[in-house]
Symmetry: D3
Subunit: 144 residues, 6 copies
Amino acid sequence: MSLAEQKLIGKLAMLYVLDESHQSKVGELGWLHCTGKVGSMESNKVVAAIETAAKKNQVINGEVYRETHALYHAIMEALHGVTRGQVQLGTVLRTVGLRFAIVRGQPYEQPEEGEWIAVALYGTIGAPVKGLEHEAIGLGINHI
Amino acid sequence: MSLAEQKLIGKLAMLYVLDESHQSKVGELGWLHCTGKVGSMESNKVVAAIETAAKKNQVINGEVYRETHALYHAIMEALHGVTRGQVQLGTVLRTVGLRFAIVRGQPYEQPEEGEWIAVALYGTIGAPVKGLEHEAIGLGINHI
Amino acid sequence: MSLAEQKLIGKLAMLYVLDESHQSKVGELGWLHCTGKVGSMESNKVVAAIETAAKKNQVINGEVYRETHALYHAIMEALHGVTRGQVQLGTVLRTVGLRFAIVRGQPYEQPEEGEWIAVALYGTIGAPVKGLEHEAIGLGINHI
Amino acid sequence: MSLAEQKLIGKLAMLYVLDESHQSKVGELGWLHCTGKVGSMESNKVVAAIETAAKKNQVINGEVYRETHALYHAIMEALHGVTRGQVQLGTVLRTVGLRFAIVRGQPYEQPEEGEWIAVALYGTIGAPVKGLEHEAIGLGINHI
Amino acid sequence: MSLAEQKLIGKLAMLYVLDESHQSKVGELGWLHCTGKVGSMESNKVVAAIETAAKKNQVINGEVYRETHALYHAIMEALHGVTRGQVQLGTVLRTVGLRFAIVRGQPYEQPEEGEWIAVALYGTIGAPVKGLEHEAIGLGINHI
Amino acid sequence: MSLAEQKLIGKLAMLYVLDESHQSKVGELGWLHCTGKVGSMESNKVVAAIETAAKKNQVINGEVYRETHALYHAIMEALHGVTRGQVQLGTVLRTVGLRFAIVRGQPYEQPEEGEWIAVALYGTIGAPVKGLEHEAIGLGINHI
């Protein structure tokens, strides 16, 4: 049950969201993945955008609840990194502009560890006024 | 008050902690920075390791409380990303092995925005048994 | 100040919400109680439904703030069990379908411990799509 | 992906922890399960007791991290119900005396939903003085 | 159920902890009260110091759990104001030096609203190094 | 880096919000300050009212993000004291009526500690029905 050095799913997802050229590394592993953008003051819209992208790009099977459940918790964990305290945006008068990358693969050497999913977020958070913002990052990882 | 494209302090700090070769980009900007490692079940030791590195490497002036205060909150925010819910380690029976990068610089185009500090964390979190762990990431940013 | 074995208000409220046949046990103790259902993505509507049922069924006296205050905190505590981290529903894109039971009685052997109120919740939580959900439970107890 | 009426894993786990006679219902389904007790002011000891029981009774395979990971998050979610706000015991001067039940089975009608794990907690929480306590309940559910 | 203008228990408790000369106003109302000091990195010691003072000065009856329960939640709420996010001190490498005031009285005009308890905290929070700290305040109010 | 006895910015801001006659003490120090009122079930409106007052009264320069950022975090910290657990109002069916005071000055003896900002809140929190409420207090302090 050790993480394989070349298969660090969290690091790969974070590099991918920071710089799209890293997509090729994820692709070489034969892993499922997708990326997208969302900007909103409504935290539910951020969750919805990531879920929709994952389903549309078949990174998860939206017909199977256990896949949706795994992804949902990975998203919520990534949002903790972005929001740092309360998973709230508009209700505390702030907005985000985020890129996201979703990666699904086998990061462990042992085949019985199976598949895991990583959600990486990068962008800005701040007041609903252009420029009044700083960067934010989040990563959520779950077994799927 | 716009973030300058080449001076994205959060992205630079995260790339730096993920891959030490990015140190040169931070150095070219003439920004203060340092990096280090800490592994512990005690969350206070993680905070202490980062604070000590920042002071020892003169990224902050430990004699000035406002600098310590700015760094402390950046560390706490980064720990939110790593712990995703409760800023606790051993008290909820988990441990971390983290690399950290601290970067201090001027990410905004306007000089009046002054200096900001970013704390980036990358490593693993999990049960206190080798291998029972997955990756975790956190980023905290504050004005200093 | 010991809990009386036959008067475990939390256990009774939980059994009552899981299986309405347990209502008789609560009734035999001569305790005030009511039950109801609420399904919503809006957490405030869940709170309102429970408060309204408690007042309408005279489990609490809505004219006395200390009773409303006691109930409110019991509801919030029960919601912690259901939401497990952030007391949020629609804002994090999830919905609940809950049954609730409210019980008011004297669970302690000593008469000076007076009345306490228990709010038990049982149902499902999940995505706003039928079937994409799992069960959730919460219990809040307060002196009244 | 609907929950099967006779296989409500959360309800079964909660009834099991409230009244051991419900063990037979879990057994009839052919599901893995175990029960145990733990009393402590140290939250990490509560986590450890539940994890140890699950491994010792082979409800999970302790050699496979994804199983430990699934269980860990189910425990943490159940502790949210018990602690209602901060997953802390001794550090906020309170202690628990808990029974726990762990159940692993297939609650959904569709076979592709696979196995899920439920952790149910029931007992008392209060000051570290006998009698200064009330009941508490928690339930955590995760895919495994 | 209106708060009586001259009996604002929260305001009185806060003024009392900020300036001991306000003790006379509390005394004139015939209300129970006490004050004290506590400095610690251990959050449980802060809770214990306040509970002990309340019992020793007979602001609450330590033999009755409902009074301990009411006080405990008022303390925890006051600590939220002091800690602002995680009710943790030493585990996140910070310490407090606090004065506290506990006031018990009838703040509402209607006699059926009965007694309430307020816990006011004032002092400093910061790194475990003298001077690396700023002020912090908290107030908790509960029915008793 | 010691707090100067006559320049306790948190205490001054709290006294100021509790009793407007304390405004003169803040004025004598030559510090920037303002006060205002806000009542709402929407937490974002509370944040907006405080930010708007600070900008309109030139306590902060709304054109400089670092000042907005410092104020925002001070407001959020003050709201933790008022909300005591979840920074939510209407979504958990409660409302506030608050006075606020914002003070900006140099509370430390050493000039290199520079300016700090304090946000003090005092008022009531409760159900959206007149009278069903108790007092609440919050204080947030940040370097600016």
